[in-house]
């Protein structure tokens, strides 16, 4: 139970990471992140079905397609917005999520499709517990991606530049960092993380145009951990996954679908800065 919660949680964590990456670079929320994930999962499926590519190649197609989509969205739409406040970007990406979902519905229809999994279905027995390899695979893949992101953000020049922009865009610009380029790279990176999350989650929830709604869980996870904090996003995602899986054991089962929402309202009321976030005081 806890393990499968952690597996769901790592998907949420990846989603939250994607949101936080864009938020840190541009102070805006990408409402279309979920739809971008859905489109990349569909791309992988098409690559496999129509062109008979092996699984690994289709994942590469999904990640590449997502990167291209993120690049185009940032360059062609978001950057053209006259003021580009978080309000503008929120509404633009809201419109974008509607458009992407409608287009996906036209291309691939609104049905649900089974998505092949990387991992076998035979449970692994470790002592007294039986574990589903799918869960372990998801957790493993997510953790390695998170590790890669950690290395990218702490050990490379690019990561340092991105963190500088997140901390103070003006100072970063004075130090010779191109804020626009970082914003572009952030969108691409976030789309790629989202694509991985999409390929991992598709075998579990089935492939459908409704997949995009996962963005809400991702946002809840990010808020839970403190919006803007990357370790917080990971912790929040894991916590949310476990809570969501355990809640039906103690509460009426109908409540499961309301859990993320109740949790979101609750955390915003009690501790808006999140578990790992630092409270920001605003001077008046």
């Amino acid at each position: 139970m806890v393990i499968s919660g952690l597996a769901t949680g790592s998907i949420y964590a990846l989603m939250a990471l994607a949101l936080v990456i864009v938020y840190n670079a541009t102070r805006a929320l990408n409402f279309a992140q979920g739809e971008m994930l859905m489109v990349s999962a569909f791309l992988a499926w098409t690559a496999q079905r129509a062109f008979g590519l092996p699984f690994w190649a289709s994942i590469v197609v999904a990640i590449g397609g997502a990167a291209l989509l993120g690049f185009i969205v940032e360059r062609v739409i978001v950057r053209r917005s006259p003021t580009a406040t978080h309000w503008d970007v929120l509404i633009i990406t809201l419109g974008l999520s509607l458009v992407l979902r409608a287009l996906a519905g036209m291309v691939w229809s609104h049905d649900e499709f089974p998505f092949p999994s990387l991992f076998s279905n035979r449970p692994v027995v470790v002592g007294p517990v039986r574990l589903a390899p799918v869960s372990l695979g998801i957790i493993g893949a997510s953790l390695s991606l998170m590790l890669a992101l950690y290395v990218l953000f702490t050990r490379t020049r690019l990561g340092r530049a991105m963190r500088a922009v997140a901390q103070n865009p003006r100072a970063a610009r004075l130090m010779g960092v191109s804020v626009e380029r970082m914003s572009s790279i952030s969108w691409v990176l976030a789309a790629m993380v989202g694509a991985v999350a999409g390929v991992l989650v598709a075998p579990v929830v089935f492939l459908s145009t409704k997949m995009g709604l996962i963005v809400i869980s991702g946002f809840t996870a990010a808020v839970l951990g403190g919006f803007g904090s990357m370790p917080g996003a990971v912790a929040g995602g894991m916590l949310l996954g476990v809570i969501e899986n355990l809640a039906p054991l103690y509460l009426p089962s109908a409540i499961r679908y309301a859990v993320p929402f109740l949790l979101l309202i609750g955390i915003l009321t009690v501790r808006p800065a999140g578990l790992l976030g630092r409270a920001t005081t605003r001077k008046v």
Binding site: S81, L90, G95, A102, V223, A258
Partner: protein, 305 residues
């Protein structure tokens, strides 16, 4: 010139049930109900620049309150039932707004999105009261001994209520609350420094917004006759957002025009479910990129000398 145009609109509006076929009378009523919600949402978003994705939830609360008042309230007259719906919804709005409005815009948006889902889950699970997914039949609106059972009668009720709420919305900037909200819109920090309690007024704006939506919910319930939770999903909230972005933020006439366009489009595209979100999404993106201020803003630029 402007007066003449306005006069024509009023006359056509009043004579509409005599001129148009029944279905178009219903559609016009729906336009007005949506206009009330759009005005309410605009009171919140136009002044505080905070988006709500929870207005379908507020609409549902208003609608179910009216239906339950009709079922168990013993022939309550329509104005009182609407007032009840508005007050109950405003109370829920305050309960949600108190914690959320201290937060920045982004968080409020997500909290209201969550609220919308919680309302639908609540309706589904309180099935003894709301009849859950099976739907709840709404008794007809009553005015003393009469029951408003025809489309025409319901239309006139909707028109009168809309007119009252339009007048109130147009005059809100002349009152203390309106001035406070204007100050907040221009600069929260300056308003706070001048002794305007920002959080309190924002909560009041939220309550007003919810009140409008609750009243609209009551009218909506009588219009459609049967309530079921799937009529109030998140896409309805998105429709409301499209109305105010297209119409123009902070503009009362804009809210009405936006509501009319979206309602009629929705009706015309009923057979093309795939194109609806495509068109609405394009409207949102297009407005933000090329027409900030919506139709009202474009109109102002056209007519300005």
């Amino acid at each position: 010139m402007r007066r003449a145009v306005l006069l024509v609109f009023v006359i056509v509006g009043l004579a509409w049930p005599l001129l148009a076929p029944r279905y178009f009378v219903f559609l016009a009523s729906l336009v007005f109900v949506n206009a009330i919600v759009a005005m309410g949402l605009n009171l919140l978003s136009g002044y505080t620049h905070q988006l709500s994705f929870g207005h379908a939830g507020f609409l549902a609360i208003g609608a179910y309150t009216t239906a339950l008042l009709g079922l168990h309230g013993g022939g309550l007259p329509a104005p009182l039932a609407l007032l009840g719906a508005g007050v109950v919804t405003a109370a829920v709005g305050v309960a949600l707004g108190l914690p959320c409005l201290r937060l920045e815009g982004l968080y409020l948006t997500m909290a209201t999105l969550a609220f919308g889902f919680v309302v639908i889950e609540a309706i589904l699970n309180l099935d003894r009261l709301t009849n859950g997914a099976d739907g709840l039949r709404v008794p007809a609106a009553r005015m003393g001994p009469w029951a408003l059972t025809t489309d025409g009668a319901r239309y006139y009720l909707v028109v009168v209520v809309t007119a009252l709420l339009v007048i109130a919305a147009l005059n809100v900037t002349r009152m203390r609350v309106g001035r406070a909200l204007l100050a907040i819109r221009e600069s929260e920090i300056a308003a706070q420094a001048s002794g305007v309690p920002v959080a309190t007024w924002k909560t009041i704006a939220f309550a007003l917004s919810a009140f409008y939506t609750g009243v609209a919910g009551g009218l909506f319930a009588w219009l459609i006759g049967t309530l079921s939770p799937d009529a109030f999903d998140v896409f309805l909230s998105v429709d409301f957002v499209v109305m105010i972005i297209l119409g123009g933020l902070g503009s009362v006439p804009g809210s009405i025009v936006g509501a009319a366009v979206v309602t009629v489009l929705n009706d015309a595209l009923a057979g093309f479910q795939n194109y609806r979100p495509l068109i609405f999404g394009t409207i949102l993106i297009g407005c933000m990129l090329f027409m900030p201020g919506g139709i009202a803003g474009a109109w102002r630029r056209q007519t300005a000398p």
